[in-house]
């Protein structure tokens, strides 16, 4: 970059040579039971630069941040600060090393004033230095362009102001590295621009910024360098200049490709890898090629064009939902802003888009977990938007949730109970409200066998099962009794290879048997492989459709990427900030 700051030359740490990384991560690896969150992650953050860290939820961004902020320690790998290897043993150690973190959600104490909140960082001193704190607040105010009364209570702050104070808090102890974890996710668009401007200003003063986000336009508008994580690994790491050589749209396509993994996961060819050395000797070896074949067969089966005469199973007409926060089951996903779609018998409809654009809301609306504010939902021609989850479940409208542990199972109940969780009170397992244990156990044994759920017994607590087996349990529950339409929300996310194949096979078999399926996935390869049509969602709407039967898998990925990138290029502020950054 040519506009590299001169302002930092006089500060205490200003001896850093220009082209040396202020922070260097080498081979950072962190594993949790069942998942490798960070796998050999290496990256360099230059002094006074903005480094964007991109990736889907679960790609390993949060783990990396928690390692940098001292909340967790890596299993392997080294962290170098200004050329020296360091161990960040605690959050206070991180602050001591000049690393400040702004978390996604507010960490301010609402009842305290702004100044008091900032002074919480001064713990360890017996006496409060109010004058010193006020002076520091003035300094940071002018740096960040804050115009706030330090005696104001934090509870009175708006979201944008709150964030300004959070940034001030992160910089309070003279941090030279500022980490912002999805800072724009809760901001209205008008405040996003102000935040990005303020980040650029900080960088120009020599502060290195790591900006974690999954919004491409923001990233490209301010970044000096971009690193994309996928499944814990660095999928792409480039300077912004290189990335933007061929324009914004091409850059976004490259990033999306890295985020969602084009090509690699299009065909599950990896099952051919030698696996003999794996310790899991109990796994039946023969099942692997077989299941892989079945998947291919499933693809041939499912990608054949669905007859337009096939029965319409589910129809969603102009459905809108109330904005988040107004319901008790609120989550961060976007509300639906007028969605219409139809699914025919024997069809698998893919839903794509960057996470948080209403995909989960759509799934919950179809399942009956979330009320709609307008529109209608027809199942086999009859209106179901007034019936609840239980009635739709009984009618054959099922939902395999992506939040398997959070809402999918009652972890302390047995496997057997979890298999009938959506049928409590219904015959034959219950008669006049009386539990018939033998019936429940009989059904559970059948499902455990059919779906290959590995559990010590049907009485084991469901929470003790591995992630893959919990997903098999959910599939067994939702696919039981030949449902007519099933929504699969990220059904293979975070699972091991064999289970992924199994889940895909079960979906294919369901569709081949005449079922109607909706597959919500962030894995474009999976969507390309499984679906006849793919709708692309953005901001609660369908913004484009790709015909899976007529398009080659590789091309599908590219076209979905182009649709998403196109929406952003058309409506976003992607181009504007870049120029500002170069001028400053």
């Amino acid at each position: 970059m040519t506009w590299k700051p001169t302002a930092c030359a006089g500060d205490s740490l200003g001896f850093m040579p220009e082209n040396q990384p202020v922070l260097r991560l080498v081979g950072i690896t962190k594993a949790f039971p069942g998942i490798v969150a960070n796998d050999e992650v290496s990256l360099d953050v230059m002094s006074g630069s903005i480094h964007c860290l991109l990736g889907e939820n679960g790609a390993g961004k949060s783990t990396l941040i928690s390692i940098l902020s001292g909340m967790q320690r890596p299993d392997r790998g080294t962290i170098e600060l200004r050329g020296r290897a360091e161990t960040i043993s605690s959050p206070s150690a991180a602050i001591g090393m000049g690393i400040g973190v702004v978390y996604q959600h507010s960490t301010l104490v609402p009842a305290l004033t702004i100044l008091e909140n900032l002074m919480l960082g001064n713990s360890g001193k017996l006496l409060q230095d109010r004058t010193g704190a006020l002076r520091r607040f003035e300094e940071l105010s002018s740096l960040l362009g804050i115009d706030l009364d330090p005696r104001m209570r934090a509870s009175a702050l708006g979201v944008g102001q709150q964030q300004q104070v959070e940034i001030a808090k992160a910089l309070w102890k003279d941090s030279r590295i500022l980490i912002l974890d999805e800072p724009t996710s809760l901001l209205p668009p008008s405040l996003v621009d102000a935040l990005l401007a303020s980040i650029l200003n900080l960088a120009s003063r020599g502060i290195s910024v790591i900006l974690v986000t999954h919004k491409l336009d923001e990233a490209l508008s301010v970044a000096d360098a971009v690193t994309v994580l996928r499944r814990g690994r660095v999928a792409l790491s480039l300077s912004a200049d290189k990335l933007l050589e061929k324009g914004v749209v091409s850059a976004e396509e490259r990033i999306l490709g890295a985020m969602f993994g084009e090509r690699e996961s299009v065909e599950p060819e990896t099952s051919a890898e030698p696996k003999a050395s794996e310790p899991k000797a109990s796994e039946p070896k023969a099942s692997e090629p077989k299941s892989s074949e079945a998947t291919r067969a499933g693809r041939q089966e499912t990608t054949r064009r669905v007859e337009q005469t096939a029965r319409i199973v589910l129809e969603v007409r102009d459905v809108e939902t109330a904005p988040p926060g107004s319901g008790r089951m609120a989550h961060g996903d976007a509300p639906l802003a007028g969605i219409s779609l139809t699914i025919r018998s024997g069809e698998l409809l893919g839903i794509s888009g960057i996470e948080g654009n209403g995909q989960k809301t759509l799934a919950e609306v179809i399942a009956g977990q979330r009320a709609i504010s307008s529109g209608s939902i027809l199942h086999n021609g009859s209106e179901i938007s007034d019936s609840g989850v239980a009635m739709r479940q009984a009618d054959g409208v099922r939902y395999v949730t992506d939040d398997r542990l959070g809402e999918g199972i009652a972890g302390d109940q047995s496997v057997a109970i979890n298999l009938v969780l959506k049928k409590i009170g219904r015959p034959p397992m219950w008669r006049r409200g009386i539990t018939r244990k033998a019936e429940i156990e009989r059904g559970a044994r059948v499902l455990v066998r059919e779906h290959d759920i590995r559990t010590p017994s049907i009485d084991a607590r469901a929470a003790t099962l591995s992630g893959g087996n919990i997903q098999k349990l959910l599939l067994a529950r939702e696919l039981d009794g030949m449902p007519s339409v099933v929504v699969f929300n990220k059904p293979t996310y975070g699972l091991d290879h064999n289970t992924v194949l199994r889940v895909r096979r079960e979906m294919s078999e369901f569709v081949a048997a005449g079922g109607a399926a909706i597959l919500i996935s962030s894995d474009l390869g999976e969507l390309a492989q499984m679906s006849q049509r793919i709708h692309v969602m953005d901001a609660g709407r369908i913004v484009g459709t790709v015909d899976g039967a007529e398009t080659a898998p590789d091309e599908i990925v590219a076209r979905i990427g182009a649709i998403i990138a196109g929406v952003h290029a058309a409506g976003g502020h992607a181009a504007g900030f870049r120029a500002t950054g170069d001028q400053s």
């Binding site: 399942a367 977990q369 949730t401 809402e407």
Partner: protein, 365 residues
């Protein structure tokens, strides 16, 4: 934590250890105060069981059991109806107030069930407001039940000093139910039939919680409300039903205590059954049948302890010291157990998990 539920013996031991510890610690305190703990404990057992003590203890067990059941049913759903005093006393005031009128108006066999039902209805009604607030708006039920409890206690006292006050006596109290209109004794004893009602309620609740779809819905809700909603369980309905049941059990306890034991209510009367029995409910791991021996234990402690305290020249409040010590030891053993991952918790596992996750988040901050 183990995959299988802990064995019967382990459960029994975990219930017993805090009891024994608190009695030992109580003995040490007594010794430090210059009293002979053996004499005091001996007196408790003697006055609580010997002679007519066992009959008094068992009579006391009737309302205490119903209070325990009322707590168990809400705690199972990890809901907190802490308004037991208000629901109990309001039920008691109405039963005591209209008791003499009703027993004059309708025959004896009809009057008593009517009065007990009245108590239950009043208790349930008082629990309804917090329940609906919780179900509709997710309002914190701990706060609403406690606040409603204060209002309930106040209204109960206003009623006793007002419309229900017996004009014939100087102290503010209701008219006394004639002895022949009160709950009859179990033949051959001086224990009123309220005990049988309470024991039957415990058996019914046990079956409902462990062998019915209602019990399973409640357990699933208590463990993971989101999973319950995802599974199509009407969570608002669960909350309301459980609160109504809990309030009704508290009110029934009041109805039985007034018509079986006291026959009238005096202003500012508050036996605080709920607070006293609360630790035992957790010791029983929210099992209605498991609670019975513990309720019996407390009944003896309370009956014998009152006299024993007088004999040893102690305040009756010393009994509350022992109850509080049980809670302290229960918590300590809980902590020790979870540290070592040695055993299941007194608290329902999901609640324990929630607490642990909560504390971990605190640490992280």
């Amino acid at each position: 934590m183990n995959a299988s539920p802990p064995g019967w013996l382990a459960t029994f031991t975990r219930a017993l250890v805090p009891l024994v510890c608190s009695l030992v610690a109580g003995a040490v305190i007594l010794a430090l105060m210059g009293k002979n703990p053996f004499v005091f404990y001996g007196d408790i057992v003697f006055y609580g069981i010997a002679q007519n003590g066992w009959q008094k203890s068992l009579s006391l067990m009737a309302p205490l059991t119903l209070m325990a059941l009322g707590l168990i049913v809400v705690f199972r759903g990890k809901l907190w109806n802490l308004g037991y005093d208000g629901q109990f006393l309001l039920g008691a005031a109405l039963v005591a107030g209209v008791g003499p009128v009703i027993s004059e108006a309708v025959p004896f066999w009809l009057a008593l069930p009517l009065l007990c039902l009245l108590g239950a209805a009043v208790g349930a009604a008082w629990a309804l407001v917090p329940a609906v607030l919780k179900a509709r708006f997710g309002t914190n039920e701990i706060i609403t039940t406690l606040m409603m409890s204060f209002i309930g206690i106040g209204i109960a006292n206003l009623l006793v000093r007002g419309v229900f006050q017996d004009p014939g006596v100087i102290v503010p109290q209701t008219r006394v139910l004639p002895i022949e209109s009160m709950l009859p004794y179990i033949p051959g004893t001086r224990i009123h039939v309220g005990l049988i009602v309470a024991l039957a309620a415990a058996a019914v609740l046990y079956l409902a919680l462990t062998k019915s779809s209602f019990g399973l819905r409640l357990d699933v809700y208590g463990e993971n409300p989101r999973a319950a909603a995802h599974a199509g369980i009407h969570t608002g309905g669960v909350i309301v039903v459980v609160f109504l049941l809990s309030g009704a059990l508290f009110g029934l306890a009041a109805g039985i205590d007034i018509t079986g034991q006291w026959g009238y209510m005096r202003a500012n009367w508050n036996p605080s059954y709920g607070a006293a029995i609360l630790p035992f409910v957790f010791l029983a791991r929210l099992n209605p049948l498991g609670a019975l021996p513990l309720v019996a234990f407390y009944s003896v402690l309370a009956t014998g302890g009152t006299v024993a305290a007088q004999e040893s020249d102690l305040s009756v409040d010393f009994l509350m010291v022992i109850i509080a010590l049980i809670l302290v030891f229960m918590t300590l053993i809980e902590l020790w157990g979870s540290r070592r991952q040695a055993g299941a918790s007194y608290l329902p596992p999901a609640l324990m998990k929630a607490l642990r996750v909560g504390s971990r988040q605190e640490d992280a901050r």
